[in-house]
Amino acid sequence: MQQLGMGQAVQQALREEMLRDPNVFLAGEGVGVSIHFNPYLPTHGLLEEFGPERVKDTPVSEQAIAGLAVGASVAGLRPVVEIMFNPFFTLASDMIVNHAAKLRYLSGGKSTFPLVVRIKTGAGFGAGCQHSHNLEAWVAHSPGLKVVMPSSPADAKGLLKSAIRDENPVVFLEDMTLYFMPGPVPQEEYLTPIGKAEVKREGTHVTVVAWSKMVGVALKAASQLAEEGIDVEVVDLRSLVPLDKETLLGSVRKTGRLVVLHEATRTGGFAGEICAVVMEEVFWNLKAPFRRVTGPDIPVPVSPPLERFYIPDEEKLKAAIREII
């Protein structure tokens, strides 16, 4: 099977969908000509392949980029636009949250907005808190949007293809660290359904719920704990909205223990939602309190030792698991 980084997998998804459907186009800052010249990056080479009519470099104008997607989608196209880094979601958030998400409802179901907003996310590249700030919890708190956060190249490809074909607005968050971690990606055409979590590892003692880059951390911790005889089940949510409650609740029903792991800051992070859902539904099966392993409630600092400290790692996760076993 081909081994690709997540950027390349995204690239393949974009290429295949653009070949399949002439209504798909890309827009964003540097999606055509980029300040990087790197085949590992998601939109590399697509301008050359599809031309400037379908691969649109935009000015630095996040509101216009998001609005372009809203308008083009209601007029029948399938925009895939990019917001360069997650903190700049703020600048596009009126268009995404007050418009893309709500205008269908406001039309009484008459208008549709089949658009995808791709956002690069994740700390770990020393750029500081105005470039690194995971805001998936904001998006998930915005009815009308779907929220996808793939953890592997294969998922990224299959989920993005599904997102592009979805009739609803989808926010698709790509952790940049994953661009450079190769993984197997099937050669043949496939779609990964949005809304289905994946049990990445079966286990009996505790359920760890994670998404995006943190799934790798969870798997590492799980295999290390296996040597201590702790049997960890790892659930990769893949999408926060829709949330695959069945898989989530099924797992915790079985293990009776839950740790939620995410990179975003703790207070108000999506781990709270997971805890609440599980608590409401499977309380009587629980054997121990939950734990959340998350970024601390601080902006992401630049200094390497501080940034490393910010990002949750397998040591922190293992410690949390041990606390409740």
Partner: protein, 323 residues
């Protein structure tokens, strides 16, 4: 440019309908519990919507704002469905979810209306992009106020539309107020059209109470846009005769100013012109007025008699298929 008599008739008809529609709303919204939410009327500004829409083709799109009744009626929206929506009834054009502030009428290519000031601008650019992408000859019109021209979205939208030479008309309905601020209290620029230089694109000012003048200016801008000549910023100077909304006592609007502009009523103006030119008789005019009153009565009856939505319906239409 000579404006054909039938176009004048079309504009007069849509202005009369809008005025009758809103005159009814003015009364209805005073009745406690009858109509939810704010009530924002365009009384006195009808020539903008009517002039603009008379210059458009059916396939052209409009993106409107909180002051949308005139825009949508001029584009051909069904007054019954609008009225029922304003009441919040299930038969409303948006099943009661939108109310008066975000009326969406895809049937007349008004697929969404936003009450976020300035929110329509980036969306209209997106619609126009789709038109150009598909090599259509249709255009998109964005209708917005002088206040919206201070929002960042205005700037980003005009720059992008100009850069890509998109077929979009930015029609600023400068009614001299943005909320309680007079025009010169929210910007020092003398004319919104002056901002066109910054993108650049043609900037045109027209008397917004003169429907044929609006029509003519729109037709020109449409022609340019449809032929690949890019966007135009068209400023229509008019006046907000009523408050920002019906709850606004207009304490900051000089009475003489209101009185002056009421004399400049765009409907009276066009009626007079048509009567003088002999393209409209007094009887025809009375008939037109009667027609619009009847249409509005019917719309009100329809809305009154329509059922409320069921609470289960609140969950519908968030997503294309339920999650």
């Amino acid at each position: 440019m000579k404006v054909p008599a039938e176009k004048k008739m079309e504009m007069l008809r849509s202005m009369l309908l809008t005025r009758a529609f809103e005159d009814a709303l003015q009364v209805l919204c005073q009745i406690q519990g009858k109509i939810p939410g704010m009530m924002i009327l365009c009384t006195g500004q009808e020539a903008v919507a009517s002039g603009v829409c008379a210059a458009l083709q059916n396939e052209d799109f409009i993106i409107s704002n909180h002051r949308s009744h005139g825009h949508l009626l001029a584009k051909g929206a069904d007054p019954k469905a609008l009225m029922a929506e304003i009441y919040g009834k299930r038969t409303g054009c948006n099943k009661g979810k939108s109310g008066t502030l975000h009326l969406a009428v895809p049937e007349v290519n008004a697929p969404c209306t936003t009450t976020v000031v300035g929110g329509g601008l980036p969306i209209s650019v997106g619609v126009a992009f789709a038109q150009k992408y598909r090599k259509e000859s249709a255009v998109t019109v964005c209708l917005f106020g002088d206040g919206a021209a201070d929002e960042g979205s205005f700037h980003e939208s005009l720059n992008l539309a100009s850069l890509w030479q998109l077929p979009v008309l930015f029609v600023c309905e400068n009614n001299l107020y943005a909320g309680a601020q007079r025009f010169e209290e929210h910007t020092r620029v003398k004319s919104i059209a002056d901002r066109a230089a910054g993108y650049p694109m043609p900037g045109v000012v027209v008397d917004g109470n003169d429907a044929p003048a609006v029509y003519t200016a729109t037709l020109r801008a449409r022609e340019t846009a449809a032929n690949g000549g890019g966007p135009t910023l068209l400023e229509c100077r008019t006046y907000r005769c009523r408050g920002h909304g019906e709850a606004d006592p207009q304490h900051y609007q000089p009475k003489e100013e209101i009185a002056l502009w009421k004399q400049r009523c765009p409907i009276l103006k066009l009626e007079k012109e048509m009567l003088q030119k002999g393209i409209l008789s007094a009887e025809e005019l009375e008939k037109l007025r009667e027609d619009s009153r009847k249409a509005v009565q019917e719309a009100v009856r329809f809305a009154e008699e329509s059922p409320w939505p069921d609470v289960a319906e609140a969950f519908q239409d968030v997503y294309v298929s339920d999650l």
